[in-house]
Subunit: 139 residues, 2 copies
């Protein structure tokens, strides 16, 4: 199994609301308005929004009903850029359980939560290299 | 906010068991045996394994205790490669809630679940382009 993730599907309860949220963050999709799944190119992977009940059924799992042990992160090039993305997420209607600040691991980050409860850490990690295309190189 | 995911953290209850599982899939990490977080380069992103309770606290969320609406996928180049990866995951101890077969969207896929309940779809999608490095191009 090659060492990569191709697709990340987020289960949502209201597809239109979820789509509008990610579009408000500046993300663009080629999905038609009536499509029942919305794909966003996300670097070399894809992020999808799909009905959570159908995703649970398709994945062969039982829905715990809340958060299930997965957190996404979006790394940026400076603490100032963390502040900018956090402000953008808050303006788009995200909940902000952790405002941006210094972290225990020597970086700077905050967390926003999308309308379906999926948390995103927005982080500047001075120990990691971000390539020009935004991909991460652990070295 | 740029259109990409940098890091995907999977909450785990037994870090050593989780690490051994992903290593059995052929993944390599630079983490030391005593590290409390294990990072894997995953294409242009990073997949991390971390204690689920600490992840919940760090993410500012309440743990629902089960699956929480996120499914990962690993896309490959042929149905035969789906079968190979599914067999590898089963041999590594994954649960198999959905064996590989034709899908309603015209592809071929199966689902395995890692030791902490995180589902992965292994898929061949004839409508998507996989670049040589394995990244996905929605076009």
């Amino acid at each position: 199994m090659e060492q990569r993730v191709s697709l990340l599907t987020l289960g949502v309860s209201d597809l239109k609301r979820a789509r509008v949220f990610y579009e408000a963050l500046g993300w663009a999709t080629g999905a038609a308005p009536e499509d029942d799944v919305v794909f966003f190119q996300a670097g070399g992977a894809v992020l999808a929004l799909w009905d959570r009940e159908r995703l649970a059924e398709d994945s062969g799992v039982t829905d715990g009903g809340g958060w299930g042990g997965v957190t996404l992160a979006h790394n940026v090039r400076s603490p100032a850029e963390v502040d900018e993305v956090m402000a953008q997420a808050e303006a788009a209607g995200a909940a902000i359980p952790r405002h941006a600040g210094e972290t225990f691991w020597g970086g700077y980050s905050g967390v926003f939560v999308d309308p379906d409860g999926h948390p995103w850490e927005v982080a500047h990690n001075p120990h990691w290299t971000l390539r020009d295309d935004g991909s991460v190189d652990l070295g």
